[in-house]
């Protein structure tokens, strides 16, 4: 029982982080019909920035705000300078731009902050005694904090997208850019904001995961999150916001339970497990579980 609770809790913690990353990917996909391969590396950059600020004495919350601002700028500038010019050239050049950005950003992190891994203070108390006991399992505030933060963030995002004027514009631009533009919506600006917002989500995901990641904060911290996040986004449906969250949570839980309980899969194969689920879903439902139409340009 204790083990089960612990595994569920672990799965949930990871699942929420995957959900945030998946949500960021979906927001970008809805804007530019591409999967932002550099999403995790943008997040890594801002997470490093936040960590660096804390080493200089800034509070982690101040660092979080700074990371979000810088994240927004990186996302927005990327959209304007690298992605928009590729719009007419299609999927492949866009992807390649993102691969280029991915490589370059990781390299820049290394150049600026070195190659060491760092332990980073979290937003929530992380001491050995900061836990509550549930069925013998210790649920640490760090993990619970991630859940709460993610839930709040998701609620804010969903409210913003479904209840605000900006959200309406974003949905309109994602649904039919031409109609949106003819209705007076500056679609380009909406995309820029979308990319920026996605990068903010990623930045927060990074600051949530880095303190509890097995990798700590290092150049390799965020890439696995991208893998799981994109698998979650695909499973949910690349243009479905709700699907991303469900995909992320179920992937986190499935990963924890399957690798824990199913011997055949074994511990070596946990990324493979997630990706196999993704491929199977895609083969049967090419648009994911909750995705609508497949982007098709003839």
């Amino acid at each position: 029982m204790t083990l089960l609770v612990e595994r569920l809790a672990d799965g949930l913690t990871n699942g929420f982080v995957y959900a945030l990353m998946a949500l960021a990917l979906v927001v970008v996909f809805r804007a530019s019909s591409t999967v932002n391969f550099a999403q995790a590396e943008m997040a890594l950059f801002t997470t490093y920035l936040a960590w660096w600020m804390t080493t200089k004495g800034a509070s982690i919350w101040l660092a979080l705000i700074a990371a979000c601002i810088v994240g927004f700028i990186i996302g927005a500038v990327t959209e304007r300078t690298l992605i928009r010019p590729m719009e007419k050239r299609g999927e492949m050049p866009t992807l390649l731009m993102l691969v280029a950005l991915f490589t370059a950003l990781n390299s820049i992190d290394g150049l600026i902050w070195g190659l060491d891994y760092h332990s980073m203070d979290g937003l929530f108390p992380g001491g050995i005694d900061d836990y509550i006991s549930v069925a013998g399992a210790r649920l640490y505030f760090e993990a619970i904090g991630v859940w709460v933060a993610a839930i709040v963030l998701l609620a804010v995002v969903f409210a913003a997208i479904n209840k605000t004027r900006l959200g309406l514009r974003m949905r309109a631009a994602a649904d039919n850019p031409t109609s949106a533009a003819l209705s007076g919506i500056n679609v380009g600006r909406i995309y820029t904001i979308g990319w920026g917002g996605a990068a903010v989500l990623g930045s927060i995901a990074g600051i949530l995961i880095a303190p509890i990641s097995a990798q700590q904060l290092s150049l390799a911290t965020m890439f696995p999150v991208l893998i799981y996040g994109s698998a979650a986004a695909i499973i949910g449906g690349l243009n479905s916001l709700g699907g991303a969250v469900i995909g992320g949570l179920s992937l986190g839980l499935a990963e924890s339970l399957l690798t824990g309980y199913v011997d055949l899969i074994g511990p070596q194969m946990h990324q493979t497990t997630a990706l196999a689920v993704m491929v199977i879903v895609l083969l049967f439902r090419p648009t994911g579980l909750f995705g609508s139409r497949l982007e098709e340009r003839v």
Partner: protein
């Protein structure tokens, strides 16, 4: 005073121009129709005016040049287009579609306008909270019209509103357009294949043939005119 004035406008795709050296004018409150056969360049003309296609030549609206502005800039200046194919935002609800139409307005009368157009189109009111993708073709056309009107445009561009609709619905649509024009004073620029309907509504006509304006004049000049037949048959 809103007046659309077009001089020497050419536009097309890539380097090949589809329409050449077009002159056009729409006065306040006026209903103008562009008639022409398939492939004459009607849709290109509309897309040029709404900013979707790069143009050369001069286009002014209310004295201000709008040539090569972005579609959203043109829309915000008061020209709204109802595109061919209706451009329904399928995953949004009917009500949200209408709100998108009003998304650039900061006044407090948006809800009143929505109520007004829903009154005019009860079908929209009945399905206000359903995804717009579930509407029938005729309902989507009305939604597109209502969405455009929610921008309170001074000029409405309608690209073949009758396309693919049953005759009875088309009649309703045109009578509605006439009401709108009368009640709000919105100018209309229509592109139509259905000449009879259009001529009933319009006060001024342009004939487009393979990219050129070949004739123009008040509607009365064109009733039973050979020119219209020629424009359609391309003779």
């Amino acid at each position: 005073m809103s007046t659309l004035e077009v001089h020497g406008m050419s536009a097309g795709y890539g380097r090949a121009a589809v329409i050449h050296d077009i002159d056009l004018r729409v006065d306040p409150g006026q209903v103008v129709v562009i008639l022409g056969a398939n492939g004459a360049g009607k849709t290109t003309t509309m897309r040029a005016l709404s900013g979707e296609v790069p143009v050369s030549g001069s286009i002014t609206f209310g004295g201000r040049s709008i040539a090569n502005l972005r579609p959203d800039q043109i829309a915000r200046l008061g020209i709204r287009a109802v595109p061919q194919g209706r451009g329904t935002l399928t995953s949004l609800t009917v009500r949200e579609n209408l709100l998108v139409g009003a998304s650039c307005r900061a006044d407090s009368e948006v809800e009143a306008d929505i109520a007004r157009w829903m009154d005019a189109f009860p079908a929209l009111a009945r399905r206000a909270d359903q995804p717009a993708g579930t509407l029938s073709g005729g309902e989507q056309q009305m939604l597109a019209l209502a969405r455009a009107l929610l921008g309170r445009p001074q000029l409405l561009l309608c690209d073949e509103p009758s396309l693919g609709l049953a005759p009875v619905i088309v009649r309703d649509l045109f009578s509605f357009l006439s009401t709108v024009n009368a009640e709000t004073g919105t100018s209309l620029l229509l592109v139509e294949q259905n000449a009879n309907l259009a001529l009933n509504l319009a006060s001024f006509v342009y004939l487009l043939e393979v990219g050129y304006i070949v004739e123009s004049g008040p509607t009365s000049d064109f009733v039973n005119s050979d020119a219209i037949r020629r424009a359609y048959l391309g003779m």
